[in-house]
């Protein structure tokens, strides 16, 4: 009993490697265009630095996405948590930066989660109003101005500190998403919330947990963003949520959530986006054309992912026969 899927045909195996394939193609093409510029150590570090916030933000948002909900507030939360953390670091001490920032993220996340699960307001509506509100509060608190915080924050921007934190956080979130109840139930909720409820999942609690995680990660991204721009800017993190969503969806995580949400897809998607943005810039594509190409490539990659997946399902159906 319990044999694997039998013989793996072309499409079946292709389905598994496809997200990687898109990434590989992008890397190869830009290696050709930009030459060795893309492979210089500094540029590679730059790509990693581009990927880190996308991955961290995504590792929280993936729980929300797996449940089929939307978190539009993440970008605004990056700014809000970063700002509060920064203010705390000025008044309380530098040590307070990370806890305050992440704590703020968690609190706002819990608020979002409660609104969605207990008050039954759609997640898009909740997080969209949260986006508008938080941005406005940040503009109010900062008086619209960028300001400096404790310059120790710049330490956080150093790759030797940033990278280990990133790896630890992502490894933890990976574990939570793929190998614990939290991730599994999130996927089940995304597949069919009623089924989850009837099988004894405390749906509300898991929704709140997912939003809280998304908020926590937004807080962490806020810390790194403040580090990377050397202080607080009320504009930081704008449309960050859309960038994260692009990474997730391009990597092949379904918009509707559910069982096919996989963590590795997020990482692949984030890498793809980072390589694409970096590659287009260093190949000196004009700014206008660069956005055009980026849009078209994203659409094409998503199309291929879906195409391959549909082929795979067709094959599986046919094999049943």
């Amino acid at each position: 009993m319990n044999k694997s899927l039998g013989k793996r045909d072309f499409w079946t195996s292709f389905q598994h490697i496809f997200p990687f394939l898109g990434l590989i193609v992008i890397i190869i093409v830009f290696s050709i265009i930009a030459g060795d510029k893309i492979w210089t150590p500094t540029n590679f570090v730059g790509i990693i630095a581009l990927m880190i916030p996308l991955c961290i933000g995504g590792s929280g948002m993936i729980f929300v996405a797996a449940q089929g909900s939307t978190d539009m507030s993440q970008g605004a939360l990056v700014a809000f948590a970063g700002t509060l953390g920064g203010i705390a670091s000025i008044y309380i001490g530098f040590w307070a930066f990370v806890p305050v920032s992440v704590g703020t993220g968690i609190l706002i996340g819990i608020f979002n989660g409660v609104m969605v699960s207990k008050c039954k307001v759609s997640s898009l509506m909740v997080t969209l109003s949260m986006l508008i509100t938080l941005r406005a509060i940040v503009a109010f608190v900062t008086n619209g101005q960028a300001f400096f915080v404790d310059q120790q924050i710049l330490e956080l921007n150093k790759m030797e500190i940033k990278l280990p934190i990133f790896i630890c956080v992502v490894a933890l979130m990976w574990y939570l998403f793929e190998y614990t109840k939290l991730g599994f139930f999130s996927k089940c909720i995304g597949e069919n919330q009623t089924v989850g409820k009837f099988a004894g999942i405390p749906v509300d609690r898991y929704k709140i947990a997912a939003f809280a995680l998304s908020g926590a990660m937004a807080g962490l991204v806020g810390v790194f963003t403040v580090g990377s721009i050397g202080g607080i800017s009320p504009q930081m993190g704008s449309f960050f949520e859309l960038q994260v969503m692009i990474s997730m969806f391009v990597g092949g995580i379904p918009v509707t959530g559910g069982a096919t949400s996989r963590f590795y897809k997020l990482v692949v998607g984030a890498l793809m986006l980072a390589f694409l943005q970096n590659g287009l810039t260093i190949s000196q594509v004009g700014a206008e054309a660069s956005e055009l190409i980026q849009g078209l490539i994203l659409i094409c990659v998503v199309f291929f992912t879906l195409f391959v997946r549909n082929k795979f399902i067709q094959r599986q159906m046919a094999k049943e026969a």
């Binding site: 503009a139 721009i229 930081m236």
Partner: protein, 421 residues
Amino acid sequence: MKKTMTIVALVLVCVFMLAACSSGAGTATEEPAADAATETAAADDTVAEQPAADDTATEEPAADDSAASGDKMLIGFNNFLKGNYSVDILERAVVQTIEALGGEAMVVNDEAKPENSASNVDNMIAAGVDGIVFLGLADTLFPVVAQKCDAAGVPFVITDHKPTEDVLETLIASETYVGGACTEDFNTGRGIADYALEDGLSKAVVITSENTDTTHYARATSFEEQFTAGGGEVLNISWGSIAQLSDVLTRATDVLTAHPDADCVYATNGDIGSICLEALAKFPDMDAKLFVTDLDPSVLEGLKSGDVAAGNGAHWINGNISTALLINYLQGNHIVDGDGNSPMIIVPVMVLPSNLVDLYDEFWIQNQPYSNEELQAMVSADMTYADFEQIMTDYTVENRLQAKVDQGLLSQEDLDAALAG
């Protein structure tokens, strides 16, 4: 259907990847050739590598060279948000200067995200630029950029937005910071406030962009300070979103409804200025004068018709000046100020008299205030800080117009006629 879609999409990817490569390496004149290459390449994937490989070959020397004359310099500029007129016009000044001096410009779009301002510096360095003209709209960005440039050994100048003195000190401490040409955004608001006070106005409303926009924030608040200090009262500052002019218009009508007694309206940029004209037209009973900063085409119209009481601006030349500073450095002439530090040149803001509107339109908007020859003259081994200071002292609308007369672009009679009003 599916199959054709796949093929079409595949071909599209190839075409765009290659288009990326061709527009990256080739100049505009080479484009037809590149297009031809992409067409053949799209048909056959194996061919695709051919033109691409050629491109890397042509580009490598450019990446390697340091300021050696003869090869094209590659100079990077970060546009904070493509589509925003003020920064786009600044980009035009920077690109014009670079090209006039035989360099090649690399423009990146920060998409209004401060994070991108930082990461795009990384990208420009990775692309092998020889120098960077940095437009930083948040003070906190400057130390970060200095750090990055120091690490990579790429010189940079700053333009347009002037950081505070503290930040300027950290910049001066940086090895790769070679100067800057900026406008004191506070001066623009102050100038208007003084002008309005002279007119005997006392109740003002300010229509501006988001308060997260440093430039507009500085203009609005400095106006408020100066106006209040001079005995006036600012009734309301309306923060809107410049990305959506309809939003600004809505805000403006709301504010004018709330304060029908206002006698002075200050619009902090050209687009907002033209919007305020609309809004004021809806309140025929109101007797308020409109003041605008930034002299863009629509404001010029207003000045000419008398709907705009006064406008100031003409500071976009800071793009020209800062780029000239950078290229001087790249060619081995590091210009330093009296203290031996990299200089910070303050570009003055001018109030444009309405009689010069037409000439301003011709020589600032239609053409560049500085000709290519003048720009080339700014870069030489003999240039000193004093020379640049002189250029700034000489920079008035009248002087520039006189220079145009000298270049034979304008007849003395026309200028005299215009000056006479």
